[in-house]
Symmetry: C2
Subunit: 281 residues, 2 copies
């Protein structure tokens, strides 16, 4: 299906943009977690967001959820794994489904704009973002899995049913996976190595594991992995004051554009991006 605008990310920047684009009667496909930003959710007290005095992150997310629902906005809880530019706009792969949009807003959060060393080079050559898409390729093989959130544990379990051996790094505290063929890594993946295809990974603590594939189950894929020619400024997406990136029709807002990592800044940038999107069409 074709939409006016695709928004990637359901944190404050995405929410701010979505509310505004909806008011401007744009058709929107909005990708991200319907649990909204985990960074907001885990904030104990937010003391500097004007209009909502001294609020806990969970309460603020609850207000956001109500606001989203009242505005008639819907979240498509799929992970975007690839965005390509087309003649008319953008083609987006969300889990296994294809979506099209004229304009796109990246609001992917604090995830580094850059991917792991080797990630982009070996994408499709052993590196995958989607267990259900590519898991079957690794029957009885060895794989590494970087799991960024508890909500992807079912994908890890699915992979463990297929693979002979799974080296798992869980980037959250309460990992409950306890399976005979799953070995928990003590530190995250530093690099993915291989010539033609993935051959092994190294971890931040310096260990090396031979693997046939690497599954990166992140709440969001690094923007430069999503889009090929996206210009970055250090670890962030480069934007101007209109929140335009170097790719025409592609905007960015929120933590992914740089510091300060603040709700107010994200909300402001989402608003500006939405207005630029409306103006530019």
């Amino acid at each position: 299906m074709r939409y006016d605008v695709a928004i990637i990310g359901t944190g404050p920047a995405g929410i701010s943009a979505a509310l505004n684009l909806k008011l401007h009667n744009k058709s929107i496909i909005w990708f991200g977690s319907s649990d909204l930003s985990m960074k907001v959710e885990k904030s104990e007290k937010i003391a500097n967001y004007p209009g909502v005095p001294m609020v806990g992150g969970q309460s603020l997310n609850d207000i956001f959820k109500r606001q989203i629902e009242d505005a008639g906005l819907e979240i498509t809880d799929k992970m975007v794994t690839s965005i390509t530019t087309t003649r008319q706009g953008f083609m987006i792969l969300g889990d296994n489904d294809i979506y099209e949009a004229d304009q796109i807003l990246l609001a992917t959060g604090t995830i580094a704009a850059k991917s792991l060393p080797g990630e982009q080079e070996l994408l499709g050559k052993g590196v995958s973002y989607c267990a259900t898409c590519d898991g079957f390729l690794y029957k009885q093989k060895s794989i590494a899995v970087l799991c960024s959130a508890k909500r992807y544990e079912h994908e890890v379990k699915y992979l463990a049913e297929l693979a002979k051996k799974v080296y798992l790094y869980a980037a959250y505290s309460d990992c409950e996976i306890n399976l005979p063929n799953v070995e928990l890594l003590g530190s995250s993946i530093r690099e993915i190595k291989g010539q033609e295809r993935v051959e092994h990974i190294t971890t931040l603590s310096g260990e090396e594991y031979p693997v046939d594939g690497v599954f990166i189950l992140r709440t969001a894929v690094a923007p430069t992995s999503l889009m090929n020619n996206l210009e970055v400024d250090g670890n962030h997406i480069a934007v101007n004051r209109k929140m335009e990136t170097n790719i025409p029709g592609c905007y960015a807002a929120g933590d992914c554009t740089g510091r300060p990592y603040q709700i107010a800044k994200a909300v402001g940038e989402g608003n500006i991006a939405a207005h630029s999107i409306v103006e530019d069409k």
Copy 2:
């Protein structure tokens, strides 16, 4: 007295900056109306500010007021009429009092960054922003007064006691001044003219009035009138993504930096400016 930071403006941008600077233990002098932004106050419904669903402007300002009070912030309800750079920072004239600050944030709202034609050229040569400062100079003379808000009506009355004739333009709807020597103008001042000193004004509807002085009683003075070398971009203060202006130590945020004129954008920029201010010292 000397402060770390002076903030000019009590709208959403100023509020956002003040909350953040306070959290960073900066000493703040905060100029503006303690009624906060009239633009917010007069908004019937705000549907696109994340975190505060469908709120009336008055209610939002009430929340802001509570938040300001809870944060222990104080507003100095004086009009800033001049800012000069000093070796250590800035010297600010608020009504008739002098304040000093190391850094400064301009959050002056939608008022055009540029002043009226003739305003800057004739400032101090018949043009004044302060009735109590300069009114005595116009005893038994003719003056024009541009009054932007009801709260300045007492200043108009004071001027009417001194002057022989007052040509008044009230830029609000419920002007209650009814004095024998005050003539209400049907349209605002277009230009202030004169060679060495103010000689006459023209109005938007094309009339000309001979006057000895012009009092401009605005909730805020055009930023370029406040500061001499401030770089503008059209009608707005020119800033970069860090909200820095061309003058070192001087930042701007909110409507005064350009469109979209939105609470979310103002709040975001105030937040960024505060973080830049903290980083730069």
